[in-house]
Symmetry: C2
């Protein structure tokens, strides 16, 4: 299924003992709708406050159900802040996380005050040099060890990712920019650490060449602070057979 | 000034005895910030629930003030649901409404459930034929009397408008479409009546050729019902000297 959610109303994706999470809301709704206990696995476990427009998740059912009816039921049984946009049967072996070949995130920054969609844009009132950030961001492209942008509690030991796109785009409305980043995989906290570091470069608190030194250091303390969660959106997850 | 607002939190643009309106919120904030009574005139008076990303408004001050300081003050003195994006000095004769040469609105429809930005998108679960709507919408282009799409309480007697753009565009995310319409002026309730009529055509409740008959009738009862307010956004106002 393809899932959209407003991260400001959840304590992140992953099921946890306390607090509403997207995974729990979906499992609750699907279990009632399908009349059987349902466990949901997402392509990416977004942090508290992070949104998704194109999260992908899978679940297994013991019995065949009507997909259209299930889609309607689950949306009626989950809060407004989460929406299953589409739902389709896959092969028995499909795995939303392990089969994903790429993920695309967006990070929205406004240089002027915002009112509409203010839960998914971050306001940076100081003048940011987007060209400077884009020159620096080109250094992210490629297959590298991104340890310096990974939170230490991350469960995996492999810190190598391949970033194929990393660029700020001006939106049609003056003052708004979106950072688009595409990679085969992302480490925990990676996009926000990259955006936080780039913003320091855009604000001329760091030199353009700093990024190369930070990557080489393989030390999270060398990178900038994590950018605010609510600017980040998981836009799309890619699979080989699409 | 260029103003963005979340229409769901206001009873429309225009000042009124009861209820919060965008005009009142701006006048309140500006009067305190500029230390003098301020009356604000907008380019368009949006209805309750309608949003704006690019509303333009003007006001007169008795004394020269620092624009940058005024921008910061007014944003601090108004609710989060309204934001003055920019503010600039104009000639004494500039009038936000009378000098405007064009207005562009957007109307967002999603064919699938939504969670993020759900206050500014309308969900239509039935299959809509956007190509059919676009063929019909071409009949709107030109200088015509749009009486049939005007609420009767409208104050003006001139019902002639020139529409130069009227088309549905697919968004990057599957299932989402935006209707973009540009005209020199719009009558009261006009965009929502047009969208409501087009949706009936897209849902095959009306024939494609109905639009021509409706325009010729010059009777609001011939058109379809007004589409929901929260899908509508005043995107931009144009002036001759820009």
């Amino acid at each position: 299924m393809c899932v959209e959610y407003d991260g400001s109303e959840f304590h992140g994706w992953q099921r946890q003992p306390n607090g509403d999470t997207v995974q729990s809301a979906l499992e609750h709704g699907l279990s009632i709708a399908a009349r059987q206990p349902v466990a949901v696995t997402g392509a990416g476990r977004t942090d508290a406050g992070v949104h998704a427009r194109g999260q992908v998740a899978h679940f297994d059912l013991n019995e065949v159900v009507d997909e259209h009816a299930l889609l309607n039921s689950v949306n009626a049984l989950t809060p407004w802040s989460v929406a299953v946009r589409s739902l389709q049967r896959t092969s028995d072996t499909f795995h939303a996380r392990f089969d994903a070949t790429g993920r695309r995130y967006g990070y929205r920054v406004s240089q002027v005050p915002v009112a509409l969609d203010r839960k998914s844009r971050v306001v940076v009132p100081e003048r940011v040099d987007f060209d400077r950030m884009n020159r620096a961001a080109r250094g992210l492209i490629g297959t590298r060890n991104f340890e310096s942008f990974c939170l230490t509690q991350s469960e995996t030991t492999n810190r190598v990712c391949t970033i194929s796109e990393a660029e700020w785009h001006a939106e049609s409305r003056e003052g708004d920019h979106t950072f688009r980043i595409l990679a085969d995989r992302f480490l925990h906290g990676m996009v926000r650490a990259i955006v936080g570091t780039l913003l320091e470069i855009g604000l001329e608190k760091r030199s353009e060449s700093d990024l190369e030194r930070i990557i080489a250091a393989q030390d999270r303390r060398e990178a900038g602070p994590a950018a605010a969660a609510h600017g980040l959106i998981l836009e799309e997850v890619y699979y080989a057979n699409e």
